[in-house]
């Protein structure tokens, strides 16, 4: 059971690192999604700041969850974040159906749809599993292990950032040229 919980914790950390890094590679694109959820007409710098803040937050929580697993409060924070994902997906499905969610920056072309709400719920479910108690011994890391995890997390963040940059911003599909 403990291994299952640790797997859930690791998966969520990876998801957050990838999502945060990918969004950081393309904050302007994610800012357009942020704009969908701001009830007032916000200036572009504010939208960009929110987009970058959200991305950095995801990345920081993911990195911390992976490299400092002993802080159990992070599990609750991750669960709260995943619940926020469910809320955003549901709101997006209700009010902005079919628009790009840019949840993973340019890495994914997912849109606000029912499947997206389901995916978010599954992620929240995994986060709930990660909330389960794990013996302190299972979360103790020696210096070598911590360095290894930091290196792996850094590599993962770099890979996600680079992949998102290569794929470019996930903009809305434009009308295609059709045969006459």
């Amino acid at each position: 059971m403990e291994v299952l919980v640790l797997c859930a914790k690791t998966v969520l950390a990876c998801v957050l690192i990838v999502a945060g890094s990918a969004k950081l590679a393309d904050p302007a694109s994610f800012a357009t999604t942020v704009r969908l959820f701001i009830p007032f007409r916000a200036a572009w710098p504010l939208l960009s700041a929110i987009a970058i803040g959200v991305s950095l937050g995801e990345l920081a929580v993911g990195l911390a969850s992976l490299t400092i697993p002993a802080i159990t409060a992070l599990n609750a924070l991750v669960f709260a974040i995943t619940c926020a994902f469910v809320g955003v997906s549901a709101l997006g499905y209700a009010f902005h159906r079919g628009r790009s969610c840019r949840c993973f920056g340019a890495l994914s072309q997912r849109k606000f749809d029912a499947a997206g709400v389901l995916r978010s719920a599954v992620i929240a479910g995994i986060a709930a599993v990660a909330l389960a108690h794990v013996g302190a011994a299972a979360l103790q890391l020696d210096a070598t292990a911590r360095v290894l995890l930091i290196a792996a997390a850094g590599l993962l963040a770099l890979a996600a950032f680079t992949a998102a940059r290569v794929r470019g911003p996930g903009s809305e599909p434009e009308p295609k040229v059709v045969a006459q």
Partner: protein
């Protein structure tokens, strides 16, 4: 201790698997027809600013001072695309449209061949691989329309005349506000008009 080691192993395995998955996804996205559809720049993006001199020592600027500018990314190989040449001839008559041919590198054959094809009056400019990269253009012939504000209005690979004229129609459409990105950085990708 065993569980602690398990956590490290599981975490490392997940990280490496995710890195490999990212590599695979990126590799797939960079190859094939789907990738070519994403070449060019998305409408609303600020296009690179440049000034180049043609064979008559006349300076050509991008963005144009007025109207639209059609930048054709091609060289003498355009002779293999007679339909595109027809399309260019068709839009040449359009007012307030400046057409320029931008080659990837110096090509002695480019201008004579293009003149032979009847594309007189179109400046042939020697660009560079980095300029092509700035426009996110890998394959030719590729067409990008830029307005006088320096924003991309339409971009796509073109193989037929109707594609050139259709792109011109798309270029005339007003830009959606959502596509207007702030000036300051260049995005490599377009959701562009796949042809």
């Amino acid at each position: 201790m065993l569980l602690a080691s398990s956590f490290v192993v599981v975490a490392l395995v997940f990280c490496m698997a995710t890195v490999l998955a990212l590599f695979g996804v990126t590799h797939v996205s960079m190859s094939g027809a789907e990738a070519i559809e994403r070449d060019g720049l998305a409408p609303g993006i600020h296009a690179p600013v440049w000034s180049l001199v043609d064979s008559t020592s006349k300076a050509v600027h991008s963005p144009p001072r007025t109207g639209l500018q059609l930048i054709m990314f091609t060289d003498h190989s355009l002779k293999a695309f007679p339909s595109v040449v027809d399309g260019l001839r068709e839009v040449m008559a359009r007012e307030r449209l400046e057409i320029v041919v931008l080659t990837r590198r110096r090509n002695e054959l480019a201008e004579p061949v293009l003149r032979l094809l009847g594309l007189d009056g179109i400046p042939v400019l020697t660009g560079s691989p980095s300029l092509y990269a700035a426009y996110n253009v890998r394959v030719t012939p590729f067409a990008i329309f830029v307005d006088s504000a320096g924003r991309v209005r339409a971009s796509s690979l073109v193989n037929y005349d109707w594609q050139v004229t259709k792109l011109l129609q798309l270029a005339d459409l007003p830009l959606e506000s959502e596509n207007l990105a702030p000036r300051g950085r260049f995005w490599r990708r377009t959701a562009g008009a796949g042809v």
